[in-house]
Amino acid sequence: MRFSKKILTAAVCAVCIAAPAAWAQTGKISNGVVKIGVMTDLSGLYADLAGPGSVLAAKMAAEDFGGKVLGAPIEVIAGDLQNKPDVASSIARRWLDQENVDMITDLTGSAAALAVVKIVKEKNRIAMVSSGGTTRLTNEDCTDRTVHWAYDTYALANGSARALTQEGAKTWFFITPDYAFGHSMEKDASEAIVAAGGKVLGSVKHPFPGSDFSSFLLQAQASGAQVIGLNNASSDLITTIKQAAEFGVAPKQRLVGMIFMITDIHSIGLKATQGMIYTDAFYWDMNDETRAWSKRFFERQKRMPTMIQAGVYSAVTHYLKAIKASGTDEAGVIMAKMKATPVNDFFAKNGKIREDGRMVHDMYLMQVKNSEESKQPWDYLKLLKVIPGDQAFQPLSKSRCPLIKK
């Protein structure tokens, strides 16, 4: 056993030394297969907005690419990280050590994403985060093997806050969950509001997880602010929105979900969400291209895609294109190629991967339709404003990423 292991190690070393040169010349793919691991929440809270839909999106990307790149088959595998960073970390190690996975995508949940990108960097592969939203991925914890694809919390909070304030909604009140993520959302949004000439009248922090938001909503109503910003997510956010509808917040004050997804609207229903404003990276009913792809997705998944799922397709496609163009699957070469090539597909127009790993593309300020406007299932949103990429995301000058030379 030990003996064969030594031979194996020697062989691997030999390949490592010989390979970079050989790959570049002959266009060989390591292990003869391009393996893409979709690590997502298949069974829990986020299974709707990422989950099996993300796996399908990755599979569609591989199929649309012809199932092969440089003559090597493309294989998509899935893993359930169960929303536990340690499960994510052990799956990642197994994939990279044993199963020769070349690229890991989706990565639901910030803590898991942060854990996995470090392992990916250590093993010299590529991580394309579409699901985890923390800005730490492109700041303190950035690596030169990470791409952050669909969105981040800065783009969501900043997008809505700035656009609305510029439109004339000058006074804000925040309902914020009492933990680090909520605090940083509030800080980002407040800065954007003040910069755009608005004012934050106050904020209230609720314990996490919360079940009754009535007293916080009353405070928000009493503040008289034009906009109530909700910094909480998923089930907390859903409860807050439902209660806000009961309290009749909507006509007088505008409700803005900072981290909101089309699947949330689908589960709450238009009655409670109508008129709400939020920032999204993708909507299926935007143009012919998005409709065509989303229709194919819908046929197989029976749900419309979220920005995360569309992002997975876009990321995987960009990755495969980079392999084809550079004739290798060595992570460093691919990364350079991906950064050098603009992203042009149904998801992003002229998207660009920055030095810190941020994929910069346009974001959209959306409003939820009311029940009369909505003509068919999943017809939920109308576009208020396109937020250009360079305004939507955190500027490079403010980046805390050590890779950026200032």
């Binding site: 299974a47 359930d80 169960q82 536990k84 340690d86 910030s110 942060l114 923390t134 933990y179």
Partner: protein, 306 residues
């Protein structure tokens, strides 16, 4: 006769531990070993003292955080980092224990749960723990300054060493006069008191030992996975360790090891099945409760005796 059987068990355990990484994926084995130590430490309290704590995640998780913090932020070497985490867990065990052992049964469980929830919220709020993101990228560094722990096999044998140390310590504790008194307290506390034993101080010491060894497991885990997160302090973790002990066999030396292996294996290798994981796990637990009421090892022992 009985001693012979246990000795054979030990030899098999050590031999299996040494050979295993060449057959099975070492990172998975390290995870299993950490949880096995955690379950054994928990079993010291539940199986041999008869106290059901529902807050052991607090010791496991806080030691993981402390270790991660001192290694990452203060630049402690690995062995000192693990030691710091473990010592902290001992201290925390002393505080929690002295409060909790004043009550029995369900009240004891509730107090430990309440205290553990406080630790959870502290970890969620304090800046040093990274809130819900946790601590990532804890460097493994060099053991004693020269053994490179980023090499998986070196790391594995280090973890195996820690596990065997903890395991033998628990074995010694259980089979010492002190352990006999613990069992006496478990069987009949008033009688143990009437025999002149101070039940409270025995229970407290058992609690502290169990907490400290849980901390050792948590500290080691944070170095293996290079991460400490809220999962480690969440009450779900306290529940998981109860299940490990129950599935393997409460009050048996090898039971928690087997239980931890079973549960970690399911968590790891079934992850491809998505939402079926919870259903499969549920079925396994129901089957365990119905068929192996004494746990896997407990039932095996009974079979051999028959």
């Amino acid at each position: 006769m009985k001693l012979g059987k246990t000795a054979v068990g030990f030899v098999i355990l050590v031999a299996a531990g040494i050979v295993a990484p060449f057959v099975i994926y070492p990172v998975f084995l390290m995870k299993a070993l950490c949880f096995a130590l955690f379950a054994c430490a928990f079993n010291l309290l539940l199986g041999y003292t008869g106290l059901l704590s529902f807050g052991h995640a607090a010791f496991f998780g806080s030691a993981a955080y402390i270790t991660g913090y001192v290694i990452t932020k203060l630049g402690f070497p690995v062995e000192l980092g693990i030691l710091t985490g473990t010592v902290f867990a001992f201290g925390l065990g002393a505080v929690f224990g002295s409060l909790a052992i004043r009550r029995q049964g369900i009240y004891f469980a509730m107090i430990t749960l309440a205290l553990a929830q406080m630790v959870f919220f502290l970890c969620l709020q304090i800046k040093a723990t990274g809130g819900e993101d946790g601590l990532q990228g804890i460097p493994r560094g060099f053991l004693l300054g020269f053994i490179d722990l980023s090499d998986t096999l070196n790391m594995y044998y280090f973890v195996l060493g820690i596990f065997l140390f903890g395991f033998f310590l628990i074995y010694r504790i259980v089979h010492s006069p002190f352990g006999q008194v613990l069992k006496a307290i478990r069987e009949n506390e008033p009688r143990a008191v009437s025999l002149g034993y101070d039940a409270d101080s025995h229970k407290l010491l058992a609690f502290i030992l169990s907490a400290g060894l849980s901390g050792l497991a948590g500290a080691t885990k944070s170095v293996v996975f290079q991460l400490a997160s809220l999962t480690d302090v969440h009450w779900g973790m306290s529940g998981e360790v109860v299940l490990m002990a129950l599935v393997g066999g409460v009050g048996t030396i090898f039971g928690p090891v087997v239980g931890a292996l079973v549960i970690v294996t399911m968590e790891n290798y079934l992850s491809g099945f998505g939402s079926w994981v919870t259903i499969i796990m549920g079925v396994v637990f129901v089957a365990c409760v119905l068929v192996f009421r004494k746990g896997i090892v407990g039932e095996l022992n009974a079979l051999i005796k028959r």
